[in-house]
């Protein structure tokens, strides 16, 4: 049993955490409430700003005609494919750059140029080459996320503690052993962070791609909504996106915690 002081200390921490959660939920509820209240009393123009109720109705309508999960699935599928290719591909390319310094030195300025260039400008070219379809969207998302993945992962790899590398070399370790025994496990946190950043970037790419070419997906809903001045649809799309992106983010956090055990 703990001392009285310690129990009070634990209680205090619990209370603090509860207050934080409580305030967080309060803010979102209050926000929805004020929004709906302002809409009901014509304080805001619901044609432009929509309202929680009409967003809910839109979602229900989409669900009833069966297109809600279709659009979500399309976007989710595009995000997942691009995320997997960007993350795994990025790590593989970063590994090659880590292993062969010559290639990394040669390719460095090109990576910098590609990284600083606004990737949207490649949109038209991608569409012409890959066609107006899912392929273009995935390529777009890849361009946005893979370059920064390569740069970040490579940077993390080459910042690995040199003394530990010397230690492994003193045991006559081969490069692949250094990679699997040291480089990968010691950069575990960096890799998880890259995944977290990538989820956000891939979403940007996919939605941008859907704006440009798509016939389905959340980005398409938003674009279509804005063209026919159905702002309810636009807002619905944005909220669906927010939910999807945070769910995927928390999924990675969940995996991270799982692996740490």
């Amino acid at each position: 049993m703990y001392s009285k002081e310690h129990r009070e200390y634990l209680k205090k921490i619990k209370l603090k955490n509860f207050l934080i959660k409580f305030t967080q939920i309060l803010i979102i509820l209050l926000f929805i409430f004020i929004w709906q209240f302002a809409a009901n009393h014509n304080l805001i123009n619901t044609f432009i700003s929509s309202s929680p109720k009409s967003i809910l109705n839109t979602i229900i309508n989409l669900y009833q005609d069966g297109s809600l999960f279709y659009h979500i699935w399309i976007t989710f599928y595009e995000v997942l494919i691009s995320f997997l290719i960007a993350t795994i591909g990025g790590i593989i390319i970063a590994t090659i750059l880590w292993r062969y310094k010559f290639i990394s030195k040669v390719i460095d300025p090109y990576l910098t140029i590609l990284n600083s260039m606004p990737k949207v400008s490649l949109g038209p070219i991608i569409i012409i080459i890959a066609g107006a379809g899912t392929k273009s969207i995935i390529i777009m998302a890849l361009f946005i996320s893979i370059i920064i993945t390569i740069i970040n992962v490579h940077q993390a790899f080459i910042s690995t503690d040199q003394n530990k590398i010397r230690l492994l070399k003193s045991f006559k370790a081969k490069p692949y052993q250094i990679y699997f025994k040291l480089i990968l496990p010691s950069n575990y946190n960096n890799l998880i962070n890259v995944c977290k950043v990538n989820i956000g970037l891939v979403f940007i790419g996919v939605i941008m791609g859907e704006f440009l070419v798509s016939k389905a997906g959340i980005g398409y809903l938003i674009m279509y909504g804005s063209q026919v001045f159905n702002l309810n649809l636009v807002m619905t799309g944005i909220i669906l996106l927010a939910i999807m992106a945070s769910l995927m983010y928390y999924f990675i956090v969940f995996i991270e915690k799982r692996l740490q055990k």
């Binding site: 003394n163 010397r166 003193s170 010691s186």
Partner: protein, 247 residues
């Protein structure tokens, strides 16, 4: 019997702005079971010599003769334990790299851990160990591959003074008990005198041998005891003068 003979070792480092002669004309003979310490001013190239001896660096000229089938173990500054591995797994690292995880070797590692007070910590992670214990783990990791000669590169420099004394005592006993030969680089003169059978004093860069002292202490035993020997301060003064520190 000399198990390691180094003759006229020379090392030049090349940089864009010029070349630096780090080590010049360094020779050394190591006997079976002998403990040699190399001291010198900081930055004089002591560590370079060890890197060359264990093959991490290439000498510019000179010869290194090693008796057949001798194995090296290298212990460098800091313990360099892998945080994501348990103590047990850390100790097996060298064997894993050599693809040498035989039953016999694993038994040997377990035996070392048991003998040197880490029995209850096999499943712990390095973060939960004190600096001294970590250093012991690092030594066991090196010993696990059964090296004949140990190269110690300022192995205790990351520790605070008290721990350092205790750990050097520890490490010394382990090395002697496992009957290993060792070459230690350090900038701590008392550490060198209290642990080594022979102290080699190097000059400022480029490192050349300034003096070699055979350390003969009355009642020679463990490093902490050795510090009390009456010859200790004589050796200290001589080496101090050799190194010629000036601020």
């Amino acid at each position: 019997m000399d198990i390691l003979k180094v003759k006229n070792l020379k090392k030049i480092y090349h940089t864009k702005t010029g070349e630096i002669l780090a080590v010049d004309n360094f020779s050394l003979n190591l006997k079976q079971g002998e403990f040699v310490a190399i001291v010198g001013p900081s930055g004089c190239g002591k560590s370079t010599i060890l890197s060359i001896l264990c093959g991490l660096d290439k000498a510019s000229s000179g010869s290194i003769n090693i008796q057949k089938n001798l194995k090296f173990g290298y212990m460098l500054q800091g313990d360099n334990l892998f945080d994501w591995r348990t103590i047990y797994k850390n100790c097996l690292l060298g064997l894993e790299l050599e693809n040498n995880l035989t039953k016999e070797n694993i038994k040997y590692v377990n035996q070392l851990l048991d003998t040197y007070g880490l029995k209850d910590f096999k499943k712990a992670y390095p973060n939960n160990l004190s600096g001294g214990m970590r250093q012991r783990v690092s030594l066991i990791r090196t010993l696990a591959t059964k090296p004949d000669i140990l190269f110690l590169d300022e192995p205790f420099s990351a520790l605070d003074y008290q721990t350092r004394l205790a750990v050097s005592d520890d490490v010394y006993k382990i090395i002697k008990k496992e009957k290993k030969s060792a070459i230690m680089v350090t900038h701590d003169l008392s550490e060198a005198i209290s642990m080594a059978d022979k102290v080699i004093v190097l000059t400022n860069r480029p490192s050349k041998i300034k003096n070699i002292y055979e350390i003969n202490l009355t009642n020679k035993s463990t490093p902490i005891q050795n510090r009390k020997a009456k010859e200790f301060s004589t050796y200290y003064d001589k080496i101090w003068k050799d190194i010629d520190y000036h601020v």
